[in-house]
């Protein structure tokens, strides 16, 4: 098991609210010059969950699985909720009919209309059925400052201790052998470059070019992907030989430069991470998430 500093991580409360679904106020223009009214970007999506296919949802565009929340009111509340929450953290419903029920943080999304962000959460179906837009949720956040003690060149981004422990990362010959579902060539990586910090928002795997669509067609929400030649240290950008590992958190898009959203988990610049491909790997299994 990779040695971490988990005993030194602060555990803090972050509060947010379940958002409305994010849709632009007008039709948008797709990459091939058509008008589209899209749906599925956050809020409460009753019938899509982590582990489900990314493709196949009518008019779905950057669909988010499950329930999305954001910090409200002040920049402090929003920034904390977006930057300090971690994949695998537990989240409690504070009000409404599902009061007291727990879920799990499964990803983060940015680039929403009006500069919005979503922290995406998994709840069991009977909990989702009781949730209301506007319900308050509180995350027990633990993971910011996470380090792999023997690998100072590896950035550990928004990973809860539970996620790291369930991942099956192995150490061999001074490198980390990290299980991933798929390795993604840099050509396909689009929106996300230039964004900062990597803790908030996401990378996108572009889904307009036919070769990219073919590559992405079997993706599921919760798949773990390695993006080649991308560095996610103090922002997201191209760096030859660097890698970013993340979790698939949105579906594809018909809008140029957008596509399968990837929430950052690990990044390194100099080859410390070696992918170990397991096509069945998915966050649902890793975190033992019940439907």
């Amino acid at each position: 098991m990779v040695k971490t500093n988990k005993e030194n991580l602060l555990e803090i409360a972050l509060q947010g609210e379940i958002t409305h679904t994010a849709i632009p106020s007008t039709y948008t223009t797709t990459w091939d010059n058509k008008s589209q009214m899209s749906l599925g970007r956050g809020g409460i999506v009753y019938n899509v969950k982590v582990g489900d296919p990314c493709y196949g949802w009518e008019l779905g565009d950057n669909v988010e699985p499950g329930v999305s929340a954001d910090g409200t009111d002040t920049d402090r509340a929003k920034g904390g909720f977006r930057n300090l929450s971690n994949i695998g953290n537990r989240v409690k419903v504070l009000g409404g009919e599902a009061k007291g029920k727990w879920g799990t943080v499964i990803g983060k999304v940015g680039y929403l209309p009006g500069r919005g962000h979503h922290v995406v959460m998994h709840f069991k179906q009977d909990v989702i059925d009781d949730l209301t837009i506007g319900d308050k949720v509180q995350i027990r956040a633990k993971g910011a400052g996470h380090k792999f003690l023997d690998y100072p060149g590896v950035a550990v981004v928004s990973c809860s201790p539970e996620l790291v422990e369930s991942w099956g990362i192995e150490e061999k010959d001074g490198k980390l052998h990290v299980p991933v579902t798929k390795v993604v060539p840099m050509d396909y990586v689009g929106q996300g470059a230039g964004g900062s910090p990597p803790q908030a928002s996401n990378w996108d795997i572009q889904t307009q070019s036919p070769d990219a669509v073919e590559f992405c067609k079997d993706f599921r929400f919760g798949d773990i992907v390695l993006l080649e030649d991308t560095l996610s240290y103090y922002g997201r950008g191209y760096y030859h030989g660097a890698v970013t590992v993340g979790v698939v958190i949105t579906g594809p898009s018909n809008h140029m430069g957008h596509g399968i959203g990837v929430s950052t988990l690990l990044s390194c610049k100099e080859g410390q991470i070696v992918p170990k491909v397991d096509p069945d790997l998915n966050l649902k299994k890793m975190l033992d998430l019940e439907v």
């Binding site: 470059a193 560095l231 996610s232 240290y233 103090y234 950008g237 191209y238 760096y239 030859h240 660097a242």
Partner: protein
């Protein structure tokens, strides 16, 4: 010689005013070093189209000449100036000590800044807040026989001076450099509209910057972006091509770098390039004779 539909284009007035210089405090570079940047916004007395993108002390996203913004809507990117002004359009000061003196629209930096070249003697008289009116002319421009090639942000004057030849069913366009599409970063996916934005050639990786000679690029240079489609947004499409011009300089932030305004884009093979180290808007628009 290409033929266009320029006789059918409306020519109309759009307005902006000179903004203060940007100053955002310290922000981390791609490798976490705090940097106080300058060069965005305001009046730059000693930086002109045709100058190098790289090498300005503490410079980041440096914009040549004078930076103006539309003010009639909350976001400058939604103003008529941002959407309708085209590179090569005539600009005229409508207030201040240099009232009625003329300049040229030279590009648009996504998010905020519209760029105007003025003669040096005019720049000396300018004040932040002076108003500038541009004769917007170019939206809807098409090349006869090449109507499937998207023309963007390009005045008839610039298009006719780009040195384009016709060879069979292809336009032959002189460019300074051919940039692989995977280097394109910030700005991908940021809008379905091509007009109001640029996107960046990423200068995050020092070895890549040397490999592709990115330090030699000049403001105003015409470049080819391989596998990049900029018809309705900006992003990857295998086999597509975009010709653009560099409108702002280098960056040390992850995923950022010299910004490109797309001028021509084709999904097929309707464009071929030839290398010409002097392909630069400053020369094509007669703004300087030393290139």
């Amino acid at each position: 010689m290409i033929e266009t539909n320029k006789d059918k284009l409306l020519k109309l007035a759009v307005m902006g005013e000179i903004v203060p210089s940007g100053s955002g405090g310290y922000r981390p570079t791609w490798n976490g070093v705090p940097k106080m940047s300058l060069g965005m916004g305001g009046i730059k007395y000693n930086l002109r189209v045709g100058d190098l993108c790289y090498g300005w002390a503490s410079g980041d996203h440096v914009e040549p000449g004078v930076t103006i913004r539309g003010t009639e809507k909350p976001s400058p990117s939604e103003c008529a100036l941002a959407l309708l002004a085209c590179i090569g359009n005539e600009a005229r000061l409508t207030s201040g000590e240099a009232k009625n003196e003329k300049g040229v629209f030279t590009g648009r930096h996504a998010g905020s800044d519209d760029l105007i070249w003025f003669p040096e003697e005019t720049i000396e008289k300018l004040a932040i807040g002076d108003k500038v009116q541009v004769k917007a002319h170019g939206v809807g421009l098409k090349i006869k026989g090449f109507e499937d090639v998207r023309v963007n942000k390009c005045s008839p004057r610039l298009l006719e001076n780009l040195g384009i030849e016709i060879d069979g069913d292809q336009l032959v366009v002189p460019v300074v450099a051919e940039i692989p599409g995977f280097l394109m970063g910030s700005g991908i996916g940021s809008s379905q509209n091509v007009e109001p934005g640029d996107y960046d050639i990423q200068t995050t990786d020092p070895a890549t910057n040397e490999k592709y000679g990115l330090k030699k690029l000049r403001l105003g240079d015409i470049v080819l972006l391989q596998d990049q489609l900029c018809m309705n947004g900006r992003g990857y499409y295998k086999g597509s091509m975009t010709i653009g011009t560099i409108i702002h300089g280098w960056s040390d932030s992850a995923g950022h770098g010299p910004g490109v305004n797309p001028l021509l884009s084709t999904i097929g093979r309707r464009i071929r390039t030839v290398i010409d180290p002097r392909a630069n808007t400053a020369r094509y628009l007669g703004l300087r004779d030393d290139l």
